[in-house]
C-alpha cells in the first residue's frame, strides 16, 4: 500500500507549536508511507490541489492529513481524495490542532505527539478498505416542533417550498413569546399585527397540519425516515366542532384558572381561548379548575355550546407521523425573577417582569392597554427598569448575556412615556448592548427624546415605603448611591433554556450545552444544523435571540430541509456494520443489543445468521463489541483498524523491552 501524508501548518495555528517539517520527515519513515510533505493550508484550494497532484504523481492508495479535527474538515478531504479517483474512505485524519498545537506549549512534546497521531492514522489507513454508499428513499415531509415565530417562519417556508409540514405546538395556540408582545423594537410596530397574518397563514396553508396542545412523545428512525409519535393532550373540547365563538368562556363560572397568556396577571375561566387572535381559535378546558372535571357538578359550557363540542370524557390521543426531517424551534423560558430576593419579586405586587409589563401595555391585555399598578390599579408616575435580571450574573448560574433585554427595556421606556406623558422612567443598567441595525439609535432615542434616565449601576435592594417602592442602587458613573421612589418596578428578566429542553434533546439525540440550549453542529459555519443528520435548529432553543434573528434562523433551517429534500434519494453512510456469515454462529446477541433494531435474523442454508438492515444501522458499533465471535464488524471502525492504532501506540514499548 502507498500512503501519502500531508501535514498542515494551518498558518501558525499548528506550525507555531509543532515542528511540521519534522512530523512529515518522521512520517516518511513509516511503513507504507510513499510520500509525505508539509503544506501551508491543506484545506485551501492549492492545498487540496497539492493532495490531488501527489495522489496522481505517486500513485497513492490512501491519504493521511494531519491538521484540524475530523469533525471540521473530514468531509472536505474525503471529497478531495474522491476527486483524485480514490475511494473517499481511503482517508484518515490526524487531529494535530485541537488535540495538540492548541493545548500544549512545549514544541518538542507537541511534535512527538503529532508524529504519534500521524503514525496511528497511517496504521489505521493500512487496514482501511474502500466503502460504497447505498441510496435510499426519503420521506419528504417535515416536522416543526414549536410554534413560536421561528417555528412559524420555518413551517411557512417549508410549506411554500412544496413540502408537507407538521407543526407541533405545546400550548393551545401558536404564536409563542412574540404573540405576547405589545410592540417590537426598534420600529415600534405592533407585534400581533406583523405576526398575526403569519399565524393565519399557518392555519390556512394546505400543506400544513397543525397539532396545538400537543407534544412529541417518541422519535425513532434516521434522516429521511423518522417515525414520530405525537401526544395530543386532551382539550375536553372537540376541536373539529368548536367554532371559537367564545360563548362558553363567557358563561363559565370557574374564573380562577391561570391566565398563562397574560403571564398570570389575573385569572381566566376554566374553559378559555388563550387570546382573541389565537390560532387555532378553539376553546380548551383547564382540568385543574373545571368544576365538572374536579367535582362532577356544573357542565354549563356543555349545555350552552351551540355546536355540542364539549367532551368531558376526552382522553389524550397518540398520533403517528412519518417525516424525513425535523426542525426544532422550542424557544426559551424567562428567568425566574423571584430568585433575586433583594428585588422582592413575588413579594411586592408592584415588582413585575418585563413580559408582564408587556401585557399591561398591550391593548389586548388584561388592562386594555392602560398601565396600572397591580397592587391598587393606580397609574404609576415613576417607573424603574432593572436590567440583567438573570443575565450576566454568575451568582445565579446565568453568566451569559441574554441579548435582547437592553432593547426591550428601551422600547418599554419609550412606550411608558407614550402611555403616560407625565411619567418618568429610570433604567438601571450594566452596559447597553445594542448591536443590531438601528438598535443603538433606538436606545439613544429613549434617552434623548423620551427623557429616560439611564443609571449605570446595580440595584442593591428594593423595599416598600407607604404605597411606594424605594429602589436603592449605585450610580457608578457619578460614584454615588442613588435612591428612587418608584411606583412600579419592571425587571428585565433574561432568557434561559425552555423547561424540558434536555428531555427533548435526548429523544432527538442532539447535544445541549450546560445551560440546556441546543448545540449547533458548528458555532460559525453550521449554525442551524445539529450533529444528528436531518435535525435542524431554529430560534431561541439554540441560544437567546431576538425576533429578526429567530426569523432568519427559521428560514435558514427551512432552506436546509429543502436542500436535503432536493434529492429523491439520500446516500446512506456506508460506515455501518457488516456480518461475516462464516463466523456468525447465530447467537442473536447483536440483535438484542442494537438500539435501533437494525439487525434481524435470517436463514442461511438452514442456519440461523444475523443480517444488518443497512438503512437502519446508524454505525454505533455496539454490536461489534458485543459479538463473541467478532463476526459483525463496524466498517471503518473494525477491531483490526482500532487495534492497529493501539499497536502503534503501545507495541513499541513491548518491542523495546524485548531488546
Amino acid at each position: 500500500m502507498k500512503i501519502g501524508v500531508f501535514v498542515c501548518h494551518c498558518g501558525s495555528n499548528i506550525a507555531g507549536t509543532v515542528d511540521v517539517a519534522k512530523v512529515a520527515e518522521e512520517a516518511r519513515k513509516l511503513p507504507d508511507v510513499a510520500f509525505a510533505s508539509d503544506t501551508m493550508y491543506a484545506c485551501s484550494e492549492p492545498g487540496q490541489d497539492g493532495i490531488i497532484e501527489a495522489i496522481k504523481e505517486h500513485n497513492l492508495d490512501g491519504v493521511v492529513v494531519a491538521s484540524c479535527t475530523p469533525r471540521m474538515h473530514e468531509p472536505t478531504f474525503r471529497r478531495t481524495v474522491e476527486r483524485a479517483g480514490l475511494n473517499k474512505y481511503m482517508f484518515e485524519m490526524a487531529n494535530i490542532r485541537e488535540h495538540v498545537s492548541w493545548i500544549g506549549k512545549d514544541k518538542e512534546a507537541n511534535t512527538r505527539k503529532a508524529i504519534d497521531l500521524v503514525a496511528m492514522a497511517a496504521a489505521k489507513l493500512t487496514n482501511d478498505r474502500g466503502l460504497t454508499a447505498k441510496s435510499f428513499e426519503i420521506n419528504k415531509r417535515v416536522m416543526v416542533i414549536g410554534g413560536g415565530v421561528a417555528g412559524i417562519q420555518a413551517a411557512l417556508d417549508c410549506a411554500d417550498g412544496g413540502l408537507e409540514v407538521i407543526l407541533v405546538e405545546k400550548t393551545s395556540s401558536i404564536g409563542g413569546k412574540m404573540s405576547k408582545l405589545d410592540k417590537t423594537f426598534p420600529t415600534v410596530d405592533c407585534s400581533s399585527c406583523i405576526l398575526g397574518p403569519k399565524m393565519v397563514d399557518i392555519a390556512q396553508h394546505p400543506n400544513i397540519t397543525l397539532y396545538a396542545h400537543a407534544e412529541v412523545d417518541d422519535i425513532q428512525g434516521y434522516v429521511g425516515n423518522y417515525e414520530i409519535t405525537v401526544n395530543k393532550k386532551a382539550t375536553y373540547v372537540d376541536w373539529e366542532a368548536c367554532t371559537g365563538c367564545g360563548v362558553c368562556t363567557e358563561k363559565c363560572p370557574s374564573k380562577k384558572s391561570k391566565d398563562v397568556f397574560n403571564e398570570e396577571i389575573g385569572f381566566t375561566t376554566a374553559i378559555n381561548i388563550p387570546f382573541p387572535q389565537a390560532i387555532p381559535k378553539k376553546a380548551t378546558i383547564d382540568p385543574d379548575f373545571c368544576r365538572k372535571l374536579t367535582s362532577g357538578k356544573c357542565g354549563v359550557c356543555e349545555k350552552i355550546c351551540p355546536t355540542k363540542a364539549i367532551q368531558f370524557e376526552q382522553q389524550d390521543e397518540k398520533v403517528a407521523e412519518s417525516v424525513g426531517a425535523i426542525i426544532v424551534a422550542t424557544g426559551y423560558d424567562l428567568f425566574d425573577y423571584t430568585r433575586y430576593g433583594e428585588y422582592g419579586g413575588g413579594r411586592y405586587a408592584d415588582v413585575i417582569t418585563s413580559l408582564q409589563y408587556e401585557r399591561l401595555l398591550s391593548a389586548s391585555g388584561p388592562t386594555g392597554g392602560h398601565i396600572k399598578r397591580p397592587s391598587d390599579g393606580k397609574e404609576p408616575k415613576n417607573v424603574v427598569f432593572i436590567q440583567c435580571v438573570g443575565s450576566r450574573d454568575k451568582s445565579v448560574g446565568r453568566p451569559y448575556c441574554s441579548g435582547f433585554c437592553c432593547m426591550y427595556t428601551a422600547k418599554q421606556a419609550i412606550l411608558t412615556k407614550d402611555h403616560l406623558p407625565e411619567s418618568q422612567s429610570y433604567v438601571f443598567y450594566m452596559d447597553i448592548r445594542a448591536p443590531g441595525k438601528m438598535y443603538d439609535e433606538f436606545t439613544r432615542r429613549a434617552m434623548e427624546e423620551y427623557g429616560t434616565r439611564y443609571v449605570r449601576g446595580r440595584v442593591s435592594m428594593i423595599y416598600p415605603m407607604g404605597d411606594k417602592l424605594i429602589v436603592r442602587g449605585a450610580d457608578t458613573l457619578m460614584g454615588t448611591q442613588v435612591e428612587v421612589e418608584a411606583d412600579l418596578v419592571v425587571l428585565a428578566v433574561g432568557a434561559e433554556a425552555a423547561k424540558g429542553a434536555p428531555q427533548l434533546a435526548e429523544k432527538l439525540r442532539i447535544s445541549y450545552d450546560s445551560y440546556g440550549f441546543y448545540m449547533e453542529s458548528h458555532p460559525k459555519l453550521r449554525p442551524v444544523e445539529t450533529n444528528t443528520a436531518g435535525v435542524y435548529l431554529a430560534g431561541s432553543c439554540q441560544g437567546p435571540k431576538d425576533i429578526p434573528q429567530s426569523v432568519g434562523q427559521g428560514s435558514a433551517a427551512a432552506s436546509k430541509v429543502l436542500t436535503l429534500f432536493s434529492k429523491d434519494q439520500l446516500e446512506s453512510d456506508p460506515q455501518i456494520s457488516e456480518v461475516n456469515i462464516k463466523r456468525c454462529v447465530g447467537c442473536g446477541k447483536c440483535i438484542e443489543t442494537c438500539p435501533f433494531g437494525a439487525i434481524e435474523e435470517m436463514d442461511f442454508r438452514g442456519e440461523k445468521k444475523a443480517k444488518v438492515i443497512e438503512t437502519i444501522c446508524q454505525g454505533c458499533g455496539i454490536c461489534t463489541s458485543t459479538c463473541p465471535q467478532g463476526a459483525i464488524q463496524l466498517q471503518h471502525f473494525t477491531d483490526n483498524q482500532i487495534l492497529a492504532e493501539v499497536n502503534v501506540l503501545c507495541q513499541q514499548t513491548l518491542q523495546q523491552s524485548f531488546e
Binding site: 488535540h99 493545548i103 512534546a109 512527538r112 439525540r509 450533529n531 454505533c620 458499533g621 514499548t653
Partner: protein, 153 residues
C-alpha cells in the same frame, strides 16, 4: 518516536465521536493547556469500545487508559454509553486479576460543550498516572518465566 520516559508517559484515550471527542475539541478551541501524554483514538460510540482494546493497550505497555463517552441518557445512539458502563465496570474488576493496577484505567463522561471539564479530566488522570509511574513492561526475564511455567503444565 518513543516518548521521553522521564517527562512523558503513554496514555491511550478512547473517545466517542459525539460527546467526548467534541469536548476535547472544545478544550482545544478554548486553548485549555493540557499535559501531552494522552493520545486519542476516536471511536463512534463508547459502546463500540471492546474491553479488549483497553486490555490490549495495557498489556502492550500503555501506562494508562482513559475512556470517555457521553453522559448517561445523552448518547447519540440512545444507549451505547450504558453498554460501555457495564462492560467497563466489569473490566475494572478484572484488571487486578490480569495483574494490572486498576488505577491505570478510568472512564468518564464528558459532553461536547465541556471543554473545561475535559481539561480537568486529562490533568487529573495524567497526574495519577505520573504518581503511579511507568507501568511494568514485559521483558525477556518475564517471558522466560512464563515459558518455564508453561513447560511445567
Amino acid at each position: 518516536m518513543s516518548a521521553d520516559a522521564a517527562t512523558e508517559l503513554r496514555i491511550v484515550g478512547f473517545l466517542c465521536n459525539w460527546c467526548s471527542y467534541g469536548g476535547a475539541d472544545t478544550a482545544g478551541v478554548g486553548r485549555f493547556q493540557q499535559p501531552t501524554d494522552l493520545r486519542i483514538i476516536r471511536v463512534p460510540c463508547s459502546g463500540r469500545i471492546d474491553p479488549l482494546f483497553v486490555v490490549k493497550s495495557l498489556v502492550n505497555g500503555a501506562d494508562g487508559v482513559l475512556v470517555s463517552g457521553c453522559h448517561p441518557r445523552d448518547c447519540h445512539y440512545s444507549e451505547g454509553n450504558f453498554y460501555a458502563r457495564r462492560r467497563l465496570e466489569a473490566l475494572k474488576s478484572f484488571l487486578p486479576i490480569l495483574g494490572i493496577d486498576e488505577r491505570r484505567f478510568e472512564y468518564t463522561w464528558v459532553s461536547a460543550s465541556e471543554g473545561q471539564k475535559w481539561k480537568t479530566v486529562v490533568e487529573k488522570f495524567t497526574e495519577r498516572i505520573h504518581e503511579l509511574g511507568p507501568a511494568r513492561k514485559i521483558n525477556a526475564e518475564m517471558l522466560a518465566e512464563a515459558k518455564a511455567m508453561f513447560a511445567t503444565v
